[in-house]
């Protein structure tokens, strides 16, 4: 069984599908970070924003990312942009909420100390608030990644072509067990890899500096 697995897979389709999926998820993920992190910080700091957009964000949290797919298809049509939209929306909210939480719960003494050092506006955000909430940011990043990946998979499974999800469905339609399993293994592998290599290393750095996770 393993042999057919290997054989079926080695003809390059698996690799191609992986690359397609990875490209989509990475692009969507980084866009969601680029929007979510500043948004989270602003929501935490500006009362006005919190009262207006804040509830909207919380509302979106309740919406499973796959629910964005019909809207995306209507808006963007049957292409990559639709799936990208779904990935972004899936990840964005969790990043924003985690970041907002982290910044809100910062010890006020950081800001006060920074103020007495003459720190205002942009430097206050980039040099103090964001580094100070790095542990929370990391949590948000991990969550965002998980949701981005799920959004991508549900999108690819249901509809869009060419990615791993599609390959998975194809395997089902062709009654090809080895293909199905192969795809699943790849997905698991990617998950482990990102967790250990990427997030693991980042968390290591944070622990080194902050002295956390010692006990």
């Amino acid at each position: 069984m393993a042999r057919t697995l290997w054989a079926t897979v080695k003809d390059g389709t698996l690799l191609a599908a992986t690359l397609v999926s990875m490209r989509r998820v990475l692009l969507g993920y980084f866009v969601s970070l680029a929007i979510g992190i500043p948004l989270g910080v602003l929501l935490a700091r500006k009362q006005l924003l919190q009262e207006t957009i804040g509830s909207l964000v919380v509302g979106f949290q309740a919406l499973p990312s796959i629910c964005w797919l019909p809207l995306a298809l209507l808006w963007f049509g049957l292409n990559d942009r639709a799936i990208l939209f779904v990935v972004i929306m899936g990840s964005l909210v969790s990043v924003t909420v985690a970041v907002e939480d982290g910044v809100k719960n910062l010890a006020p003494s950081y800001v006060r100390a920074a103020r007495t050092m003459g720190t205002w506006r942009l430097p206050l955000y980039t040099e103090v608030l964001i580094p100070a909430s790095l542990p929370a940011l990391l949590t948000g990043a991990k969550l965002g990644w998980a949701y981005a990946w799920r959004a991508l998979m549900s999108g690819e499974l249901l509809f869009v072509s060419l990615g791993l999800g599609h390959l998975l469905m194809e395997g089902r339609e062709l009654a090809d067990m080895s293909q199905v399993l192969a795809v699943m293994l790849v997905i698991i592998g990617i998950g482990l890899l990102t967790d250990r290599l990427v997030f693991g290393l980042l968390e290591q750095r944070v622990h080194e500096r902050w002295g956390t996770a010692r006990a």
């Binding site: 100390a113 920074a114 007495t116 050092m117 580094p131 500096r209 002295g211 010692r214």
Partner: protein, 281 residues
């Protein structure tokens, strides 16, 4: 020449039981290079006054002048050392000290030089590359002092900086702080609830009474420096100020002398002798 002037400052807090005056009509002048102490029981408004000088809080009435000019915002001319240090754990010790300098636009090489200079002053230059969690509480406060001094402020504000430290570390820091102060000539405004600490360090001790927060009395301290917390003169004056505090219907914790039983007895004996025989210099 007064470098810092507090004029008629009043601060009110609105509680659920009506308003309370945290500070009422405070008038205070601080001279250049003076080491001024604000002392009083908890809740007397001393930290509030310091925050108002730092512009971390704002008064309801009155004004704060620095060199004759009204101060509006927090700034590097009045840096503050906080009780919990408020250092940045994501930066090394050196980068922490450099923080204010970086905000001033000082170039990296000069920043590093100045940071190391001040770290040497607090005797921590060996730890320049360490992270905060590798340091003890006393060391961290010294870093906080170095950070506040590195931008060469006109006034150094200190809000109970040693209250969270053990007695032995505190004594080391009293010596170090007096030494640094005498070398740099910076004006210092220091808040504490510990009367002996106040007398050990200050040129003048301003006693505040609470609710409403008013200046009860100002005590000039003429004792020769360097002073130590267990000097007899310090202890005697501490008694005087503590009495004033109690007579002002204020409660207060005098420092607990928990380490050396013998020394306490010795001081008690000396007090007894002094009070019965009379003062002599």
């Amino acid at each position: 020449m007064a470098i810092l002037s507090v004029r008629g400052v009043t601060k009110r807090f609105q509680g659920r039981n009506g308003g309370v005056k945290a500070l009422e009509d405070i008038w205070l002048d601080v001279d250049q290079s003076e080491f001024l102490i604000l002392v009083g029981p908890s809740g007397c408004g001393k930290s509030t006054l310091l925050n108002i000088i730092a512009r971390l809080e704002f008064q309801d009435e009155g004004e704060v002048l620095m060199n004759g000019q009204r101060v509006v915002w927090p700034g590097r001319d009045r840096t503050m050392v906080f009780q919990d240090g408020a250092l940045f754990p994501w930066l090394t010790v050196q980068k922490n000290v450099e923080f204010g300098l970086k905000r001033m636009g000082v170039k990296p090489r000069e920043r590093a030089e100045r940071a190391l200079h001040y770290l040497k002053l607090v005797r921590l230059s060996k730890f320049a590359g360490s992270y905060l969690h590798e340091l003890s509480g006393g060391m961290r406060q010294r870093v906080a002092i170095a950070r506040a001094l590195a931008v060469e402020p006109q006034v150094l504000l200190m809000d109970e900086p040693f209250s969270a430290l053990d007695a032995l570390t505190r004594e080391d820091l009293y010596e170090e702080l007096q030494d640094i102060w005498q070398r740099l000539g910076t004006t210092v405004v220091f808040v504490t609830h510990n009367v002996r600490e106040a007398i050990t360090l200050g040129d003048r001790v301003v006693l505040l009474s609470g609710r409403p927060g008013r200046i009860q009395e100002i005590f000039p301290v003429d004792i020769l420096r360097p002073r130590h917390i267990d000097d007899v003169d310090v202890a005697r004056m501490a008694q005087q100020i503590s009495h004033a505090m109690k007579s002002g219907h204020a409660r207060m914790n005098e420092e607990e002398y928990d380490e050396d039983e013998e020394r306490t007895e010795e001081i008690d004996l000396l007090r007894l002798l002094n009070s019965s025989v009379g003062h002599h210099r």
